[in-house]
Symmetry: C2
Subunit: 279 residues, 2 copies
């Protein structure tokens, strides 16, 4: 980790149910300073991007495991920019990003995990979910689009589904980008002040903003119920984007290094094929 | 049920784990006689076929529930002919049959339920699985294509997956067509004696036949572990095909009637649209 000292494990949601979202910071930097540490942070992010690119190639060549990053956050918290910054150097052929929008009529005719399962990363791939099956216990809970009994069942279904993927060799990391309501206000104002950001503004977002406390309650329950050893949740302070990128890139690098993907042995004897034999 | 008295609930696998496949008959007819009861049996099957057609239309119009029939059996036990006979009168638009073959390379790169989930019947539909996810604990177990630990996990994954479908409104019925090894021998001989049946014979089937006892053991464990209130297994005596068809058609009719699908209320007031107003 070079000259910068930080520890992302403190952002991990415990699996014993003891969890309060309010205890997690939205702007922590663990003593690092954006200006003072600017060069080191940039070096480390560059280095992590390169390592991710290398690890992805090994993962793909090995073809035995996959990695799934689930990203959830309130609007303006920076899901898109996180993906762009952290995965920017990775071969897009080995990385499939799925952005889950409001479900279609066909999707609604199936159980809520049906469309999600379709996009589970196969062996060798990195999958990124920009929003996910957690919307079915977040926005759906906040708006009461399903009964409390149905929502209650879903936590169990989610855990069983993630266990299925994990048992198949998919390493799952789930990240909530944590920002405050005040931070969102500034980001929304910025979108309205800058004509080149107007396309990102949707008046409907203000309705969801008005339900902020309900969303925080829904996140708290979901993370409490669904943080497991095989699919842990992390609540990452996301107001300082440079720090957010450092943390998430490091989390991905460390996870992939622990998965330790290996280039497979060739299924021929290279001695039988000296390079000069190729004519 | 007209003049014929029979009770298919005796073929239901208990959910408490007390189950021995050897206790289930392959040729039971509950005292009915193929010749003596021929006309009544034919009338009842005809009637059930018509009722299934009607119930399927209601299920489709309602669009709130679905039915899934899982069919498993050894070769020659009659999966194909069961589907043809029992579902023969149902509108094919409302009934999707999926025959699961050996998984492709792409399918093997995903967890074993991935390709199955894709074919789960959406609301309003009847789905039939000709073979299913159970192959992943049957043929895979018999041949040792996965480790005992992986097989062990799969029973849990199957139950969680079927619960997901059930909670979404899918009624699940699982049927093993039960035949003896002697019966299979006669069917295989018949295929070889009749040139018009040669296309159905595959020398590879003899290898599976040699593993008959291993298959029965694998079936016993799978049915014992995965017969649940929300997705029960039935072991249907299948050597008398006319009886098999009666039993399964009755099971489907009763299940759909218990689901009680209703034509939806029109979302307009028919009084506003007297037929003569259409010009």
């Amino acid at each position: 980790m070079g000259k910068l000292e930080f520890d992302y494990t403190k952002y991990r949601v415990p699996t014993d149910g003891a969890f309060s979202l309010a205890d997690f910071s939205t702007d922590d930097t663990q003593g690092l300073d954006e200006e003072r540490d600017e060069d080191d942070a940039k070096d480390l992010l560059d280095d992590n991007q390169k390592r991710l690119d290398d690890l992805q190639e090994r993962l793909f060549a090995e073809g035995e495991q996959s990695l799934l990053l689930v990203l959830q956050a309130m609007d303006t918290a920076g899901k898109d920019s996180t993906i762009r910054k952290v995965m920017g150097d990775v071969n897009p052929q080995g990385c499939q990003v799925t952005s889950f929008k409001a479900p279609s009529k066909e999707e609604l005719a199936h159980d809520f995990l049906w469309r999600i399962h379709d996009h589970a990363p196969p062996k060798g791939m990195i999958g990124i979910f920009n929003r996910s099956h957690y919307e079915d216990v977040l926005i759906v809970r906040v708006h009461g689009w399903a009964s409390p009994e149905v929502i209650e069942q879903r936590y169990g279904h989610i855990k069983a589904f993630e266990k299925l993927l994990a048992d198949h060799g998919t390493r799952i990391i789930k990240v909530m980008l944590n920002v405050s309501k005040d931070y969102q206000r500034e980001r929304l104002r910025r979108r309205l002040q800058r004509p080149d950001k107007h396309w990102k503004f949707n008046p409907g977002d203000l309705k969801e903003r008005a339900l902020w406390d309900d969303y925080m309650a829904a996140y708290e329950i979901a993370l409490q119920r669904c943080s497991t050893d095989y699919a842990p949740w992390y609540v990452i302070p996301a107001e300082n984007r440079w720090f957010r990128d450092l943390i998430i890139s490091q989390l991905l690098v460390d996870t992939l290094e622990a998965m330790n993907p290996q280039f497979p042995e060739p299924d021929f004897d290279p001695a039988d094929y000296p390079p000069e034999s190729i004519t």
